[in-house]
């Protein structure tokens, strides 16, 4: 921690300057979003006059046209995104947590190579394998279903690293106590889970956000409009041959940002502790 300056004036200046500098950056970072939000309510002519920010006439028509599916089946796509994100998060978290527990607490012959294999998935990410995955999914007749997006994401190499570190820091004594009381291994594992609840929540959070944001995989795997995720749907609006009103795009962007932003605001504290665990791990 850096020392606060000795002289009273300087001592109070430091936090102030720091806050101002950060505030300036925050404005720069957040302004586009604020603009996005406001502009989505503006009439077409006004959109490109960034100041004044607030619309003359509050005009939610782009939202209504998105939500009633006149351009793209937005609500359906929203639900698709939600479904995929939730299921993929659940699978990734539980798979990684279960395996992390084993790697941390048990010894067996092929542990090291298996661990290396799991870690290798981090070095060879999904995006690199997207083409063979595409063909494989086709063969499995899973193409254009949510599962083509969910299943490749179920094995998370980072998850293994994370949970192995988390469980390693869990004292064996706690688990041995349960064992001595006569619990079978299954019960011991279930008993260990509440102990790492913050880590589970934190990981699930990050997973959810990442899944929600996925673009390349759904772009390639999904084709029918009603099966698309929100991100792909939006990009189809942008890349489409017809001229789409900017307001519509902005409304779509806003709606896509809102869930994860809200999520973060709600679970901000757990997120912070997740990050500190990450740095310790």
């Amino acid at each position: 921690m850096f020392p606060a300056k000795r002289f009273p004036i300087k001592k109070q200046a430091a936090p102030l300057m720091a806050t101002l500098a950060l505030a300036a950056l925050c404005v720069a970072f957040a302004f586009p979003f604020v603009w996005m939000f406001c502009a989505s309510f503006k009439s077409d002519a006004d959109i490109f006059t960034p100041f004044p920010l607030l619309p003359h006439h509050f005009n939610p028509r782009y939202y209504s046209s998105l939500l009633d599916g006149s351009w793209i089946p937005y609500p359906r796509q929203f639900l698709n995104s939600l479904f995929i994100a939730i299921v993929e998060t659940f699978l990734a978290t539980s798979f990684a947590a279960g395996s992390g527990y084993v790697f941390a607490k048990f010894h067996f012959r092929h542990k090291q190579p298996l661990f290396i294999l799991a870690v290798l998935t981090v070095l060879i990410p999904r995006q690199v394998l997207i083409l063979p995955l595409f063909i494989w999914m086709n063969k499995l007749s899973l193409l254009d279903t949510p599962w083509s997006v969910i299943l490749p994401g179920a094995a998370s190499g980072i998850g293994i690293l994370y949970f192995t570190a988390i469980f390693r820091r869990l004292p064996d004594a706690l688990l041995d106590m349960t064992r001595c009381e006569g619990a079978g291994e299954y019960r011991v594992f279930l008993g260990a889970l509440p102990l790492v609840k913050p880590a589970l929540i934190a990981f699930a959070l990050i997973q959810f956000v990442l899944c929600w944001q996925e673009h390349l995989v759904p772009l390639i795997m999904l084709s029918t409009q009603t099966h698309l995720t929100v991100t792909v749907g939006l990009s189809s609006l942008n890349a489409g041959s017809m001229r789409v009103p900017y307001g519509l795009l902005l409304a779509g962007c806003t709606l896509t940002v809102v869930p994860t932003a809200l999520f973060f605001a709600l679970v901000h504290r757990q997120f912070q502790s997740a990050l500190s665990r990450l740095t310790e791990a």
Binding site: A18, C26, W35, M36, P132, W136
Partner: protein, 306 residues
């Protein structure tokens, strides 16, 4: 550490889901991909085995090397931009008023929470689109000429790097913040009584102790930049942009596969970038002396003490 008893079923049960998913949805595609890259580019079903033809072609493919250079340049640029900035911000954040911290963190994190697609769209709309805010706010006041951030080949990669910076700075700042807060204050106290200046504190205590975190962050950013598709996709419409200045490996692969229909070549492109990617990541992680797994130590020399 573990009880020495007869084989218990639970460990294998717990490992099974992950490794099954790994095997089916990663390993098999990996093998298939490799096999695919050895096949010719004819339409599905009519392919013939051509061995390493695609790879050999790539060696002479100027576009490929261009894409490779672009990708590595852009990845390196992103990392080099974000790391010092985030570290500096983390220090600033530590000194701000407690109450404003939450709001600042939210604002900084916001870009990280939004889909890269939205970010790219916003970027196009705001920064370089019809009214070029980036130019108006940051360049004109300083008397610098207008820059076409998307079409000008010199500025495409910086554009992408700026996008990455906008997206990740908040998140990385928070990570560094946690890292900084994890350093025991008594190290600084002792050093200060020993006569250390602020610069010396940073150089001899903060930086060395942040090394694993920094390496992790660098690896993360590099990997993310390497596999980021949306930036190029939205900015350049999936093409390489003017003079292919924005052509990234991932875009090139995508184009080859879906625009040109040459799956075999496309996979060869993806796969050939792998060795270099893994090399860079390995290098970064080793520099960070991260102890990943006691038997799989990432550092050969000095051990990072607990």
């Amino acid at each position: 550490m573990s009880p020495r008893r007869r084989t218990r079923p639970l460990p294998f049960l717990l490992l099974a889901p992950f490794f099954t998913a790994l095997f089916v949805f990663w390993f098999i595609p990996l093998l298939q991909g490799f096999h695919l890259s050895l096949e010719s580019d004819d339409l599905y079903g009519n392919t013939s085995f051509v061995g390493f033809l695609h790879y050999r072609t790539l060696v002479h493919d100027a576009r490929f090397w261009h894409a490779l250079r672009n990708t590595f340049a852009y990845c390196a640029l992103s990392v080099l931009l974000i790391l010092p900035l985030a570290l500096g911000l983390a220090h600033l954040l530590r000194r701000t008023y407690r109450k404003s911290r939450a709001l600042i963190q939210f604002c900084l994190m916001l870009p990280g929470l939004t889909p890269p697609l939205v970010m790219a769209l916003l970027y196009v709309l705001i920064f370089s689109g019809p009214f070029g805010l980036l130019n108006r706010v940051f360049l004109h006041p300083f008397g610098l000429p207008n820059v076409d951030w998307i079409r000008d080949p010199r500025f495409v990669k910086p554009s992408l790097a700026l996008l990455a910076m906008w997206r990740w700075t908040g998140f990385i700042t928070l990570i560094f913040l946690s890292g900084l807060e994890g350093i025991p204050g008594s190290y600084y106290d002792t050093a200060r009584t020993e006569g250390a200046s602020a610069g010396q504190l940073f150089r001899y205590i903060t930086l060395p102790l942040l090394r694993p975190v920094t390496a992790f962050v660098a690896a993360f950013l590099f990997l993310d930049a390497f596999t980021l598709f949306e930036g190029a996709y939205v900015l350049l419409g999936g093409s390489g942009g003017v003079l292919d200045a924005g052509l990234l490996l991932i875009s090139y692969s995508y184009i080859t596969a879906f625009t040109l229909g040459n799956f075999g070549s496309a996979v060869a492109i993806s796969f050939s970038s792998l060795p270099l990617l893994m090399l860079v990541l390995w290098f970064i992680l080793t520099q960070g002396r991260i102890r990943l797994f006691s038997a799989v130590k990432f550092s050969a020399a000095k051990r990072l003490p607990a």
